[in-house]
Structures are given as C-alpha cells and as structure tokens.
C-alpha cells in the first residue's frame, strides 16, 4: 500500500484531469480520477482521498452539490475540497460563477483557467 497522499481529481474535462494528474504525480502524490459528480462520490467512498480537487460544471451531479453533500456528511466532512470555480469573466449567462463558488463550504477555491503552480501551492497548504 502506497504511503503517498491520495488526491482525487473530479472534472469532466478529461485533458485537464490528465494534466492535473501528471502535475500531482510529479509532486509525489497518488492520484485517483473521476469524470463527473456521481462517479466522484463513488471514488470518495471507495478510496477515501486525502483531498479532492472538484470542478463545478459537470454532468449528473455538479461540484456545488457534491461539495454540499460531503461537507454535510460526518463521514466525509473532514476531507478538504478545492473547488475549481468560474471559467471566465466573459461568460454572461451561467449558474456557475466564482462568487457562487465562494458561497459553498469548500476549503479553498481557484478560478479557471488554473495556474497549475498556484494550485500545487494550495494543495500543499491545505493538506
């Protein structure tokens, strides 16, 4: 069994999941991947990650809802969540804004497009 800390990346953007995974693995973390909120919750139950990086705009269950469920569940509320929030200021009609993300119970937030180095800093600070 690996003693590396396990980070779960949940995002429907498969290229971003892969890029984040490569970055996290290069920083000596173990990585699990999920591609929507439902699958993300399954992986959290099965693997109990040390931290979750969570997108908001996803099919089946969005990041807000998953974050809310985890933070209101005694079993999982202590797992830190970093939310990947609003995509850009240029979107003028979306339910998912950076400000909206800040109203959730996530432990930290980072707006997309992500600065990968900054995200690594946040991951390390949060753990």
């Amino acid at each position: 069994m690996s003693d590396k800390q396990l980070i779960l990346v949940v995002d429907d953007d498969t290229d971003l999941v892969e890029a984040l995974s490569m970055k996290l693995e290069s920083e000596d973390f173990a990585v699990a991947k999920a591609y929507d909120g439902v699958e993300g919750f399954e992986k959290i139950k099965a693997k109990r990650p040390d931290l979750v990086i969570l997108d908001v705009m996803m099919p089946r269950k969005d990041g807000y809802k998953l974050c809310d469920e985890l933070k209101n569940d005694d079993e999982y509320k202590d797992i830190p969540i970093i939310l990947l929030t609003a995509v850009t200021d240029a979107i003028n009609s979306t339910n998912y804004t950076h400000m909206g993300g800040k109203t959730t119970l996530a432990d930290d937030f980072i707006p997309k497009p992500i600065d990968l180095d900054k995200l690594m800093e946040i991951v390390k600070d949060t753990l």
Binding site: D12, D15, M57, R60, V87, I91, Y96, K118
Partner: protein
C-alpha cells in the same frame, strides 16, 4: 493496474458527441493558406469547431467537424462543399466517439483501430489529445461502436453516461415539451479576444511518421500497434484521416528514443504502407483553451502562426487543448508567436 483479469483494458469512459457534419479536405498546400482562410470565415460566423485535425505535410489533408445545427443554419441552401474548397468531402451525419484516458498506450490505440476495422465501423478521422482518442464515425453507429469496444475495454462501475446532455439540449427540450428538465450546465459558451489557457509546454526530440495505409489493412495496423514493445509501446500523438475510398493517411508522433520499435513496425508494414516519411519534430501543447466550447480558437492560433511564418507539420484539436506539431527546434518560436493571443492568467 491497467487491465482486468479478463485481459480487458481499463479505461475511464466513452463519450458521444451530438450529431455533426464532417468536412474532409484534401489537397491542402503546405502553407495551409486557404485552409486558414476557411477557418477565419467560420470564426467570423461564430461557428464552433468541436474537432480539427490537420496533417500539413506529405500532401496536406484536414478533417473539421461542425455541429449539425450550426451547419444547417450556416448553409441552409447553398453548396457547403464549395465553401470549403476543392477536394472537400462532406459527410452529413457523423459523431465523435471519445475514449479516455489512453495513457499514451499504443495498445489502446491499436485495439480501438482493430475493433473498428473488424466490426466494419466507419472511421473517417481520428485524433488524440493528452487524455483521449477521438474517432469520427457515422452518428448512427455510435451506440454499436460503444458496445463492441466493451469487448476489449472495461469501463468503471457507475461511469458517466456516453451521451451528455448540454445546456442547449435543455433549452430545446423545454421548448418542445414544456417540461423542466434537471439537466446540468456542463459547457461554457463564450468568446474572448485574448484566450486564457492553463499553460503551454513543448516536448522535444520527437519524430513524426506519416504514411498512407490501405483501408483493408486497418485491422492489421491495429494488431501491429498493440504488439509494439511487447504491448508497452507509447505514442505522443496520433492522427488519421480517410483520404479516399481506399486509404487512410496516418500520422504518428513518438519519442526519438523509441525509433527502433517504430522502425520495426514500419519495416513489418513493408509495401503495405506507401509514401512513408519521417520528420524530426516538436510538440507544442496549449493546455485548455476550451477549444471545443468556443469558436475562433483554431483560427486565431493558425492565423498567428501563419503571420509569423511558422511552419507546422500537423495540428490536432480534439478536446479542450490544442496540439501543434512543428519542425525540430521551431516549437519555441511558435510558442512566442502565440503569446499575444493565448495568455496564462496569474493569480494575485
């Protein structure tokens, strides 16, 4: 672990696109001038391109997808093929099947090709991204393709649905039925003059091999790819396009240090492949400009490179990112040419 006890390859999922129209272009000049003009016209009309695959060398060809809805709106009556220029074949009802993650394994690419060939599924074009393999096939064959792929690929339990409903679907469904559907917003639709990306990277010391392959040898190619380096072969990028009724043009990008393994593959092909060419190359990778969500990204990139006189061997835009294959030692120059239109935002 990458395979189950039954020998199936574990993957994260499969996805279907909505219905698309695929424009398959051939006879593209090495400078791609006319092709870039076409992309500019599509961007001016705010038409998004969910898929673009350009092989600019060894007789240029490209495959470009548009949503069926955009296509019908833009060319309600006129001859669309004329807009794309001479040598364009329009395939009217296609869909993209995305398999992820491929983990750069030739075994995954080869198995996918073999399954498509053996099940006589149409394969019009293929392009890889960092995570995914995207194949354009007939829209009506997507379900069957997913079914037969599962003979060799193992999906996770409770995986995401193949067909994802979009915000646009939601609006259309509400209009037709009046019911409120709880479909989640999953894609942002927007445009910015400066395109924000996560970053860029250049991979050096690569080779790209291009070759023409008879259609009836696709299964053979699939098997051979799976056997490279005893099933542990790695690729950097794969591109493929049906160029006529009997042949595909293949582009494979790989690390120079793996040249022996690839040489064995091309040697085994013997006369099956024709016009095989090898070039030293670099891969410039722009992370996440959300290519498939917004129009004008490919046009902006290629027009900027053209303005600066940057040569390209190939381009792939099949997920959220852009992959540019440049000649050796030209990746950095291309990256600099793109600095004004693609920025990496810094958090304060």
């Amino acid at each position: 672990m990458d395979s189950t006890t039954t020998g199936k390859i574990l993957i994260g999922g499969l996805r279907f696109s909505t219905e698309q129209v695929l424009a398959s272009l051939s006879g593209i000049a090495p400078d791609c001038h006319d092709f870039i003009s076409i992309l500019g016209e599509l961007a001016e009309e705010k038409i998004n391109l969910p898929f673009l695959c350009l092989q600019a060398v060894n007789d240029g060809c490209a495959a470009v997808s548009l949503s069926r809805k955009d296509f019908d709106q833009f060319w309600p009556d006129s001859d669309a093929a004329q807009s794309f220029g001479v040598g364009t074949e329009l395939i009217s009802s296609t869909g993209s099947l995305t398999l992820f993650p491929h983990q750069s394994r030739l075994r995954t690419l080869g198995a996918m090709l073999e399954i498509f060939a053996e099940n006589r599924l149409s394969l019009y074009s293929l392009c890889s991204s960092l995570s995914a393999l995207v194949i354009n096939t007939d829209f009506c064959q997507l379900e069957r393709a997913a079914q037969v792929l599962q003979t060799s690929f193992q999906l996770p339990d409770n995986h995401a649905p193949f067909r994802q409903q979009t915000k646009h679907d939601k609006i259309e469904n509400q209009t037709s039925s009046g019911d409120h559907l709880s479909v989640l917003e999953t894609a942002a639709v927007y445009w910015e003059p400066v395109i924000k990306i996560y970053g860029s990277s250049i991979k050096k010391d690569l080779l790209i091999t291009t070759a023409y392959i008879p259609q009836d040898k696709l299964a053979w190619l699939g098997k051979e790819l799976q056997a490279v380096e005893d099933g542990r072969g790695i690729f950097e990028m794969a591109l493929m396009q049906r160029v006529d009724d009997s042949a595909y043009k293949l582009g494979l990008l790989y690390e120079n240090r793996r040249v022996k393994a690839y040489r064995r593959l091309f040697s085994a092909a013997g006369d099956l492949f024709s016009r095989t060419e090898h070039r030293e190359a670099e891969l410039l990778y722009l992370h996440g400009p959300h290519f498939h969500d917004r129009y004008g990204v490919a046009s902006a990139a290629l027009a900027s490179l053209q303005d600066k006189g940057c040569e390209l061997f190939a381009v792939g835009c099949s997920g959220t990112s852009i992959y540019l294959i440049t000649p050796e030692k030209k990746g950095q120059r291309s990256a600099e040419a793109l600095e004004k239109i693609f920025i990496v935002p810094k958090l304060s």
